[in-house]
Symmetry: C2
Subunit: 246 residues, 2 copies
DNA sequence: AGTATAGATGAATCAAGTTCATTTTTTTGG
DNA sequence: CCAAAAAAATGAACTTGATTCATCTATACT
């Protein structure tokens, strides 16, 4: 049994597997989940129904494999996007746009594949879970990096931020599907990010600062000055609405 | 055909409907979605399979009705919770806790019932959609009230906030289900709310202020003072890290 | 070419939802 | 109170889609 031949065989099998996965994703995308029967998938891959079962244990496994492929691709692109941007905000924006658009495309598949697992802890045993972990690890990395740079608050667990980020985006993608024609996605994602980053940032760019710190600083300066002034002139510095009301 | 008798009949029908819905929710809750076959539901309601179809067009309709009931109850409780609290933050906390715990309980049912509809816009025609609207209207009301009081920023659409809120919470509930034993829910929801409210508030309580405004104010004061000082003393006020680095 | 082995097929089986002819229960009128 | 009519309930039969498997076809090796 020669090495080369064995390798070729494995390659052929993997190629066919990928073909079936591609057919699956295509059927879900343009025929909808209702019509994503095994028959339709087999037909799209130019195979008989039974053949699909030579490559995948059952429909559930097939869908999971398709989702795994989806996450693997997504992870690649997410990593690339993060490498391309150098500040935290840009990275989060890129991740959000990417996640939103991809999930919007393949949501029916993802939902159908995940559905049966969501209520059970056995999902943690699946390959899709492992790949999902690797995917969100990209986000986690961005956050941790941001924390170490002092850009992101350290008093909230990454897990919570992650849930807020992806949960918000996915819910958002779902509502976007309902509002018939897709509206200005970029703009809406940007709005979402406004809220998210404002909540997460330690020293956000959007014109918000750490109030306690600023006030302490201000207080110090003013005391200094008052001292100085007391010694010199007599005019008093106007100092009213220190807390502000809008 | 007497009024009383007719009324009694309708009542009987509605009572049986409610019984079937209760059985459905019970089966989902304690036998899991896998085993929530029509047979099991019928059995739990002490009926033959066929009888279920006398009251609901098909399984899908049955599940939707169950979800509708769920949302109706949830809306009642949400309204009560909002009435009980008087400031925006307390109201949001109450809504979050309520949503989180309830959704955690009945997620399998909700997911299964919604699944088929999520990708399609025909969901908007369903009763469940209408009830969901009424439910989120409670949240919307809290937000709008908060905006009018100047507590919540007005530059982000309520829809975005809503998606961030419920999306984050639901994702969160899902991850909580995965982490085998449920951890300190209260505490985690509180963390989530920290992030969410910080993002949404106009003048958040957590020691954050509008930076641009503070800086403008500070600048003005300093210029004043510099003028004064120039005329009087000669000591200079130390003024370095104006932007701060953590 | 001839046999062995892997790969593919689609008819048969199975499972769950749905329908419907029949049976049981309830209502109504004499 | 009884019988006919109407309403409600039943479960066996049907339908649809996933899965299995006996059979067939193509490929590899001598």
């Amino acid at each position: 049994m020669p090495e080369a031949a064995s390798k070729t065989r494995r390659e052929k099998v993997e190629e066919k597997e990928r073909a079936i996965l591609a057919a699956t994703r295509a059927v879900f995308r343009d025929k909808g989940p209702e019509d994503a029967k095994i028959t339709a998938i087999a037909q799209a891959a130019n195979l008989a129904e039974g053949t699909v079962y030579l490559y995948f244990k059952n429909k559930q496994a097939l869908l999971m494999a398709a989702v795994s492929e989806f996450y693997a691709e997504l992870t690649q692109d997410a990593e690339a996007a993060v490498r391309a941007a150098h500040e935290t905000e840009g990275r989060l924006t890129a991740l959000a746009q990417l996640h939103f658009s991809r999930v919007l495309d393949e949501w029916p598949l993802i939902a159908e594949a995940m559905g049966p697992y969501l209520p059970s802890p056995e999902y943690r045993e699946t390959e899709a879970y492992a790949l999902n972990r690797r995917y969100v690890a990209v986000f986690d990395g961005v956050i941790r990096d941001g924390v170490s740079r002092g850009e992101i608050r350290a008093d909230v667990s990454v897990a919570v931020m992650r849930d807020a980020f992806y949960g918000g985006l996915e819910h958002f993608a779902r509502s976007a599907r309902l509002r018939d024609s897709l509206p200005d996605t970029q703009a809406e994602v940007a709005q979402f990010l406004t809220v998210f980053t404002a909540g997460i940032m330690d020293r956000p760019s959007a014109g918000v600062l750490d109030g306690a710190r600023v006030i302490r600083r201000l207080q110090g300066v003013i005391t200094d000055i008052e001292d100085q002034l007391r010694a010199g002139q007599q005019d008093d510095v106007e100092m009213q609405d220190g807390e502000g009301t809008q």
